[in-house]
Every structure is written in structure tokens, then in C-alpha cells.
């Protein structure tokens, strides 16, 4: 080992506290980077492998009923490689282990597994025997939730027919990686499940012999998607087709894509914050080190070491810290990533998730870290390399202290002289002070950013479920029903109030923007399901116009007063122009609302109903469930409390896990910045402090001075951090917004307070730790040293 390297090792050792603090900050950034990137690619490869092996479709459409022969016409569309027709049916399930009825979706599968699209991946058990009736393969997650094994059975209402179903196998499908009931956000495997049944049997049960009501296409690479969708729609329209869509509108696919998008932003934003803070810290620590070693540098150069060798010496020091941090971060990131993969395995139904950290991700992490650190120390290293040896023999001129502008305004007139000293020293290096303040504020911001999602969820839950959607249950009918359904619903056991609605699939157009949504028709009096405007006030729905959710209006680029074209995708498929009367909240996603009578006019059919929101007396739940299971009219019943509960459970668990990491990461930033700032302040000012001590100041007085300096930094940084945190949160909310979902930006005061407390305490502890050094101040040595 060369002597310079030996010096390097010892310098690293004597400053290990500071360097470890920096390495930890780097490790946080790299961990976030590696975690997000490795999880992202694992998810990507897992998904695309699964899609390929199970031949996931490119196009999907539902229709009412079309003869099997229609498949040939679909196959003729240029770009279509393969057509898969099938029968799909929403069903009510009577599970032996649950009083409440569950709902499900039965999908037809061929007699024998072959080259079909969206093929079922059989996990356990066997394929369906076409000669036996009632055999189904159920989704593995639903089976798990109900402890179903091959051989178990349960009852269902399929198209009004009560049938017994027998589980013969457990499976999963690329269409239901995220197995969620349409319209809901989180899967509830107890109350919704997908299952597969022999094609012929399901067709018979649904009165769809030699017909289909659902299709999926596989396209050639590079096929013109928009054109294919247009042609598919033309062909299926006469058969009650309600519009075809590509993978982007396929719920499961989109949820995974959204998750990937989030991982992507996680790989960039936090990494950038942490590495920027680390670069800043490396810069100040190295600049300080180089200025204290000016004379050593001069001597080394006087003896013939050149600038490159000296620069390399200091660059290596930074490089080792960066590398150490990066390696630690890679290790931690890989572990967290593995944990994420386990969590994803719970939410997403994949045969298996193969988690792997790729070598290029490690290389990229190292490269990014070294790049950021390089930027941070470039100036200091160049300074060391170019320090003229003769120049360096004379002590560095101290930064010129000035009467600060604050003082000029008389702000500090009454301040003690000793406080002026601290104040001026902060102002003597304004850039460094400003960046230090920014660094600490980043810790606060990271904490706000990491914890505000809880507020957002709480707010959404409270406003959605306590104000906007106050029903206990929602029932949906198997088919649009006539007005006799009103009495039938009202007479269900325990029902105290029922608000009926009609929902129709429509396409809304404005200019070249268009969206497929459900147009909801409601009655006049809406107490349990008031449609609320942006100020959370009930809106008066109109017969002659629509209210749009804010996201939908934005997608269509319309404002109240504009006209939208509404194309009904069912029944007589009429078109009409309707005026946008106002905007409503987004809690239920993209949606449009009007008075039921208006919707009936539009549909040009008699009064029909699709379902009802109910408020129910708890006592009668058992009887209600029983009746619903026996009522063919009702296809599904959803319990709001069940949704809320499962939402709370899953979110609470994940949020808590995230919070632990975020608090740890934010504390590391705070510690890194405060500890290093304090160490540097202590080293730069040790002479001043020693002088004061010699002149008779007590230890307490000197440390009060020292802590005052850090306190000033904190006083500036904490509010700034809240502001930046708010900005980050706003950016995140904007980034999270998807086609169908938008979140309000809500941050409760408690979240700010939490961030302030955590960072305040972490900072205080870090500076108190450094303060001990002041007590050990060797007065004589400090004053004698020629610094």
C-alpha cells in the first residue's frame, strides 16, 4: 500500500462518523433505486412471460349474443392472428363458509386445453370432464380465501338457474392477475372470484348455445390497433357489442401497469433526492478536509507529486465512501425488493414471481452513485489538484465576515455579541448554509411525501363512504328489470330504504376525445347515494343534461355548458347530444350522471332499472343474504362495510411497512446533514470556541452558542421542508392520477407535525452528539494549532 493510500485509509478512519453518515444517505438512495428497478423488471419479465405462455389477448369485447360463425368475420380483419370467442357470466355464489352471498364470473373454456387465448394456468387438480355437469376450475385466490379443495362444492345462481358447482381444479389466468370486482380498487378474494366451466355447459346454462357474448383477439405485431378496434366494433355492434378495447383498458393489465409506473417514479424521485443530498455532503466534507490539509497538499506537491496524483487521492476518498454506500444500498435494496415481490405475490396472481437483481441494475446503480458523487466533489478535487504549492504554504484567508443585511435592519441590535458571531458565521458562507438548510428540509419533505398518502386514503374513505356513498349494500340486477323490481327490492328483509338506478354503457365524444363510461340514471330524492359536487354538496341531477366526474370532463376536454355526444352501446344504440350541467367528485372513477327519466328517454325504452343502493337493518342481514341468494333478479350484492374493511386491512399493513422505511430513510438524511454540518461547524469554529472558553465563557455558554448555530439552520429548514414536502406530494398525486382514478391532495396537520417532530428530534440528537466533542476541546492545542 502506498503511503498516500495509507494516509487515505487513516483519514477515512479519523472521519468515519462523517463518512458513514454520507454513505448511509447514499445507501438509502441506491436502495430505493435498486428496489424499484429490480422489482419493476421482475414484474415486467414475470408478466410478459406469463402473457406469452398463456397467450394473453390484445383486444377484448363484450356483447349480448352473437352466433359462433361471426368469429370468421372477425378473423378476416387485417392484423388479427387469432379469435377467441367465449361465454362469460356474472353469477351469485352461495359459499358454505359465508352467510353473505359472494359474486363471481364464470368463463367458458374449451373441452381440452389447446391453443386458446387467455388460457387457464392449472395450478392443482384437473381439467374439466365435459361429460360431467357442474364441474368448475376456480381461481386459486378465491379457493384459498374459502379453503376450497378439488372435490368441494358450492351453489350458484347462473342466469337465473340455481346450480351446484363442483371444484375440480384451482387455476389462474392472465386476464385476472389482479382479480378485482369491476369498479373496485382492491381485490376481495372472499367476495369475488373467477371460475371456468366447460364451454358447452355454460352456453346451455346461459341460453347461448352456438353463440358467444365475449371475445378476445390476438393481433400480429404492429397491427393498427385503432383500426382493428373500429372494425371489431362495426362487426359486433348489431349483436349488442358494447365497444371493444385494448389491453390498456383491461382492468388487471392496467392495475399492474399503474403499479409499474409507480415503481418507475420510485426509482427516480427518491434516488435523486438522496443522491443530491449525498453529493452536497460529500462536497462540504471534502472541501473542509482539503482546506484543513492545505499545507499537507502543498508539501506533497513541493516534493514532486503532481496535481493528478493529489486530485486522485481525494477523489478516491469520495469514491470509497460512495462505493461503500452504494454496495450497502444494493444489498438493502435487493432485500426490500424481495419483500416487495412477496407482497406482489399476495396481490397479483402469478404462477410465480421470479425476483432477481440484474447485473446491469447493479452497474447502473454504481454508475449513478459515482456520477452524482463525482459531480459533488468535482470542484473540491480540482481545487486540491490545482492548489499552487507555494500559495498553500501561507494559511488560507478566513472567509470575510460581514455585517449581515439582517443586522442593518436593526434586527440583531439587541442580540448578544456571541450570537452575532454564530449568525455571521452562517452568513459568511451563504451558499453552503443555504444548501445545508435545503438538505435538512429534504428530510422533512421526504417524510411528508412518505406519509401523506395515509391522509389521502383516510380522506377518500371518509368522504367516499361517509358522505358520498352511505348505502350498506348495492344490488345489481342480472338484466335491466322493469318497475316491478322496485317492490321486489323494497320487500327484501331489513331494507329500510332503497334508491334504484339505471346504468347504461355509453361512449361519450367531444371532438376527437372519447371515453366509454357508464351513464348512471338516478331518482330525484337521493339520501343514501347523493351525487356530490367538488365542494361535497349534493347536485341537482337533470333530465336534460349530464353531470360528469371531474376526470372524465378533463379527458373529454369539456367544461360545464359544453355539449357532449352520447352514444348508447346497448339496446337501440341511440345517439344524442347532451349539455354538461356540472362536475361531480371522482370518488367512483370516471362516471356520468343524470336523472333516471332522462336516461330512459335516451335509451328509448320503457322505464327499466339496473340495481339499487340499500340501507339495511343489521338485524336482518342473515335473512337478507338468504333471500338474495334465492332471487334470480339479483345478480350480485356488494357490502360497503366489507369493501371498507378489506381496504383498511390491506392498506394498513402496506402503509405501516412503508412508513417504517420512510421514517428510517428520512432520519438518515437528517442525521447525515445535521451531523456533518455540526462537525464542520465545530471544526471551523473550534478556535473561536476555545478562545471564548479561555476568556471565561462556560461550557454551557459555548455549547449554547454552537447549538444556536444548528438551531438557526433548523429554524430555516423545517418550514421550508414542509413547503417542499407539499410540492412533492402535489407532484405525486398528479403522477398517480390514472384514466380512471384521481386522488385529492390532502395533508392533515398531524402529518406535518409528525415530520417536524421526527426531524427535529433526529437533528437535535445528531448535534448533541457532536456537542460532546466541544466538551473535550483541548484549549491549548486548539489555540496553538496554526489553522
Amino acid at each position: 500500500m502506498s503511503m498516500l493510500d495509507r494516509k487515505l485509509a487513516r483519514d477515512l478512519g479519523s472521519m468515519k462518523g462523517q463518512f458513514i453518515a454520507i454513505a448511509l444517505v447514499i445507501a438509502c438512495g441506491v436502495a430505493a433505486f435498486v428496489m424499484a428497478l429490480s422489482t419493476l423488471t421482475s414484474l415486467q419479465t414475470t408478466r410478459s412471460g406469463y402473457y406469452n405462455s398463456q397467450r394473453f389477448g390484445d383486444v377484448f369485447a363484450r356483447l349480448k349474443r352473437a352466433p359462433d360463425l361471426l368469429a370468421e368475420r372477425l378473423a378476416e380483419i387485417p392484423g388479427v392472428l387469432r379469435v377467441q370467442t367465449r361465454v362469460e357470466m356474472e353469477v351469485t355464489l352461495d359459499m358454505p363458509d359465508m352467510a353473505e352471498p359472494a359474486s363471481g364470473r364464470i368463463i367458458s373454456i374449451p373441452e381440452r386445453p389447446g391453443r386458446e387465448l387467455n388460457a387457464v394456468y392449472l395450478r392443482r387438480g384437473r381439467w374439466i370432464d365435459p361429460d360431467r355437469t357442474g364441474e368448475v376450475i376456480v381461481s386459486e385466490s378465491f379457493a384459498k380465501a374459502h379453503h376450497l379443495q378439488p372435490g368441494d362444492s358450492f351453489r350458484a345462481v347462473v342466469n337465473g338457474n340455481r346450480v351446484g358447482l363442483q371444484v375440480v381444479g384451482l387455476g389462474m389466468s392472465p386476464e385476472y392477475i389482479y382479480e378485482v370486482r369491476p369498479g373496485e380498487l382492491l381485490p376481495d378474494n372472499k367476495r369475488f372470484g373467477v371460475m371456468w366451466m366447460n364451454d358447452r355447459q355454460l352456453s346451455e346454462l346461459c341460453d347461448l348455445e352456438a353463440s358467444f357474448n365475449s371475445l378476445s383477439l390476438r393481433l400480429a405485431r404492429g397491427a393498427p390497433m385503432a383500426e382493428v378496434l373500429r372494425r371489431v366494433d362495426l362487426i359486433i355492434e348489431p349483436y349488442g357489442g358494447s365497444g371493444s378495447h385494448d389491453r390498456d383498458d383491461q382492468i388487471s393489465h392496467r392495475m399492474i401497469s399503474d403499479e409499474m409506473k409507480q415503481l418507475q417514479s420510485m426509482a427516480t424521485v427518491p434516488t435523486a433526492i438522496f443522491l443530491a443530498v449525498a453529493a452536497y455532503l460529500l462536497n462540504v466534507v471534502l472541501a473542509r478536509l482539503i482546506s484543513t490539509q492545505r499545507e499537507q497538499i502543498a508539501m506533497i506537491k513541493a516534493f514532486g507529486y503532481n496535481g493528478r496524483e493529489v486530485g486522485w487521492h481525494y477523489a478516491k476518498m469520495a469514491g470509497i465512501v460512495a462505493l461503500g454506500g452504494a454496495l450497502l444500498g444494493i444489498g438493502v435494496g435487493a432485500r426490500i425488493g424481495r419483500g416487495m415481490a412477496v407482497m406482489y405475490a399476495k396481490f397479483f396472481n402469478f404462477p410465480q414471481i421470479e425476483f432477481q437483481v440484474e447485473w446491469w441494475q447493479v452497474a447502473l446503480a454504481l454508475l449513478v452513485t459515482l456520477g452524482a458523487s463525482g459531480l459533488g466533489v468535482f470542484k473540491s478535487v480540482r481545487h486540491a489538484a490545482s492548489l499552487p504549492p507555494a500559495e498553500a504554504m501561507r494559511p488560507e484567508t478566513p472567509p470575510t465576515a460581514r455585517v449581515t443585511w439582517l443586522e442593518r435592519f436593526g434586527l440583531m441590535r439587541r442580540m448578544a455579541n456571541s450570537s452575532k458571531m454564530s449568525f455571521r458565521s452562517l452568513f459568511a458562507r451563504p451558499l453552503r448554509t443555504a444548501l445545508g438548510v435545503l438538505g435538512i428540509s429534504m428530510a422533512v419533505a421526504v417524510l411528508v411525501l412518505g406519509t401523506f398518502s395515509e391522509d389521502m386514503i383516510r380522506y377518500v374513505m371518509e368522504s367516499q363512504f361517509q358522505r358520498a356513498q352511505r348505502q350498506d349494500f348495492t344490488v345489481t340486477f342480472a338484466e335491466p328489470a322493469d318497475l316491478s323490481a322496485v317492490d321486489e327490492v323494497r320487500s327484501l328483509p331489513g331494507v329500510q330504504r332503497a334508491e334504484l338506478f339505471r346504468a347504461a354503457a355509453v361512449r361519450m365524444r367531444s371532438g376527437h376525445h372519447h371515453r366509454k363510461v357508464s351513464l348512471m340514471g338516478y331518482g330525484e330524492e337521493r339520501r343514501i347515494y347523493p351525487v356530490l359536487d367538488m365542494q361535497m354538496q349534493p347536485v341537482p341531477l337533470r333530465r336534460d343534461g349530464v353531470h360528469l366526474s371531474a376526470t372524465l370532463a378533463e379527458q373529454l376536454q369539456v367544461v360545464p355548458g359544453d355539449t357532449v355526444r352520447v352514444e348508447v352501446l346497448e339496446g337501440k344504440r341511440r345517439h344524442a347530444d347532451l349539455i354538461v350541467r356540472g362536475l361531480v367528485d371522482d370518488f367512483s372513477g370516471s362516471a356520468a350522471y343524470m336523472r333516471m327519466e332522462g336516461l330512459w328517454d335516451l335509451l328509448a325504452e320503457g322505464p327499466t332499472l339496473s340495481g339499487a343502493h340499500l340501507s339495511v337493518d343489521e338485524k336482518d342481514l342473515g335473512r337478507l343474504y338468504q333471500r338474495v341468494k334465492d332471487t334470480p333478479l339479483i345478480a350480485a350484492i356488494t357490502s360497503k362495510n366489507a369493501i371498507v374493511q378489506s381496504f383498511r386491512d390491506t392498506m394498513a399493513e402496506n402503509l405501516l411497512r412503508m412508513k417504517v422505511f420512510i421514517v428510517a430513510f428520512a432520519c438518515i438524511i437528517a442525521f447525515g446533514v445535521v451531523y456533518n454540518s455540526a462537525r464542520i461547524a465545530a471544526s471551523e469554529r473550534s478556535r473561536d470556541f476555545a478562545t471564548l472558553r479561555v476568556l471565561g465563557y462556560s461550557r454551557q455558554e459555548v455549547s449554547r452558542l454552537f447549538l444556536g448555530e444548528i438551531g438557526t439552520l433548523l429554524a430555516l429548514a423545517l418550514p421550508l421542508g414542509l413547503l417542499i414536502g407539499y410540492g412533492f406530494a402535489a407532484m405525486t398525486v398528479a403522477g398517480l392520477a390514472t384514466e380512471s382514478q384521481r386522488f385529492p391532495l390532502v395533508i392533515y396537520p398531524a402529518t406535518y407535525a409528525f415530520a417536524l417532530c421526527v426531524i427535529g428530534v433526529a437533528s437535535l440528537l445528531s448535534s448533541l452528539w457532536v456537542r460532546r466533542k466541544l466538551d473535550e476541546l483541548d484549549l491549548i492545542a486548539v489555540l496553538k494549532a496554526r489553522d
Binding site: 498516500l4 499537507q296 506537491k301 516534493f303 503532481n306 496535481g307 499552487p388 507555494a390
Partner: protein, 240 residues
């Protein structure tokens, strides 16, 4: 004045000026300095503070370049050198001793010497160099555990361990008491005598002039007098 054509000259400076710009004014640190140092010679530079001694020494050592004039080291024209060439010149030929020792505090005495011998073409063993200045017993000590005089002797060992052609010392005893100063001077004297290293020592202390072959007196950036000593005093006999 010495014969300008002396073939044994190691350094030959002609009409050397050094001007430092200081805001609106200029500081003339050296004005038209001519000088020659011969191989193996021991010279002392004397003069009041600010007279240009350090500036001259730094220029001879390749740490600095003159504003005008030429400086030759044997057959090298130092004034024509760029930074890289000056660095190589220092690396190959010059040893420095500074007033404040400038040891690396994180390296032991031996390591401080080895730091320089590592990049030298023909160094002596660090332990031998330390032995030469009477520090053979303290090789494993860190600078913070050595007295000022001991540190300065380590610095001398460091300067001579590479077996330089010239040894330039800027106030090597400036921070030391008499006894310690003499120990340090003895070390320098011994190196000059036993290794034949051309040696220049800056001092404020006229008493030290007794050790020299020649003494250059500086004032206001000029050499105002050169005194040759007929007989050199050994360092041990100096008194101040």
C-alpha cells in the same frame, strides 16, 4: 560577485524579478536578482521580513516562477518550464524543509519519509534517513507525539531521503528553541557534508550565518551583499 562562468554552478539566476499584483498596486518581491550556487555549497539567506527570501527560494525550488529573468538549474532553464516539468524537476532534484515542518499527521515518521522515497528514483531507506538526523529510535511515532524539533528532524530526513541534489530550507529553526535549533542545523550540516547536497537555508538569525560557505544578505528584493566565510563554524558552536 562570483564568476558567472563558473562550471560548477548548480543554480544560475539572472535579472530575476518577481512582482505580485495587489489590487491597484504591485509588490516587488524580487528586483533584478543575480546569483549562483555551486555544487555542494552551503549558503544562508539573511534579511529582514518581507525582503524576498522565501520568494527567491521558492523560485529556485520550482515552486514558483519569476515574472522576468532566467533561472537555470545545471542545463535546465526553469523559467521555460511548464507546471508538469517543474513538478518533475522538484520530484527528481529538490528537497524542501519548511518552517512549520508540514508533516502528514496521519502518517508515522517513517511513513512520512516513505511518502517521498516512493516517488524518488534513487532513495535511501527511510530508516537510514531518520538515523542520519538522529531519529532512528522514533520511526513508528506519529507527528503529534513528537516535539517541534523532532518533527523538524523528521522533515529533514524526508527531504534528504530521496538524495536530492539541492536542499532548500525556509526558516527551519524558526519555530524552535536554541538547543533544538542546533540539533536541526547539525542534521542539515551533516547532510551537506556527507552527501554533498547543495544546501540553501533561510534564516532571520544572523548567528546561523557562521555555518555557511557564503551568506547572501537581502533587502527590499535585492541581494545587497554576499559574504564568503573563510572558515565555517560547526553548528554545535553557534550561539544566539
Amino acid at each position: 560577485m562570483p564568476d558567472t562562468s563558473d562550471p560548477t554552478a548548480v543554480f544560475r539566476a539572472e535579472r530575476v524579478c518577481k512582482v505580485y499584483p495587489m489590487g491597484d498596486t504591485e509588490v516587488h518581491a524580487l528586483r533584478d536578482v543575480d546569483l549562483e550556487l555551486r555544487a555542494g555549497e552551503f549558503v544562508v539567506l539573511l534579511g529582514p521580513s518581507g525582503s524576498g527570501k522565501s520568494t527567491l527560494l521558492n523560485i529556485l525550488g520550482g515552486l514558483d516562477v519569476p515574472t522576468s529573468g532566467t533561472v537555470r538549474y545545471r542545463d535546465h532553464d526553469l523559467t521555460a518550464y511548464d507546471d508538469a516539468e517543474l513538478t518533475r524537476y522538484r520530484r527528481e532534484h529538490v528537497g524542501f524543509v519548511f518552517q512549520f515542518y508540514n508533516l502528514v499527521p496521519s502518517l508515522t515518521a517513517r511513513e512520512n519519509v516513505a511518502l517521498i522515497t516512493e516517488i524518488a528514483a534513487n532513495p535511501m531507506a527511510p530508516d537510514d534517513a531518520l538515523g542520519l538526523v538522529g531519529m532512528g529510535q522514533r520511526t513508528a511515532h506519529f507527528p503529534s507525539h513528537l516535539s517541534g524539533g523532532e518533527q523538524q528532524r523528521v522533515a529533514i530526513a524526508r527531504a534528504i531521503a530521496k538524495q536530492p541534489d539541492v536542499l532548500l530550507c525556509d526558516e527551519p529553526t524558526g519555530a524552535l528553541d536554541v538547543g533544538t535549533g542546533i540539533l536541526v542545523l547539525e542534521a542539515i550540516e551533516r547532510v551537506n557534508r556527507e552527501l554533498g547536497t547543495t544546501t540553501a537555508v533561510i534564516t532571520h538569525n544572523a548567528a546561523i550565518a557562521g555555518m555557511a560557505d557564503r551568506v547572501f544578505h537581502l533587502r527590499d528584493g535585492r541581494i545587497i551583499e554576499v559574504v564568503s566565510n573563510a572558515a565555517k563554524l560547526p553548528a554545535a558552536d553557534l550561539k544566539w
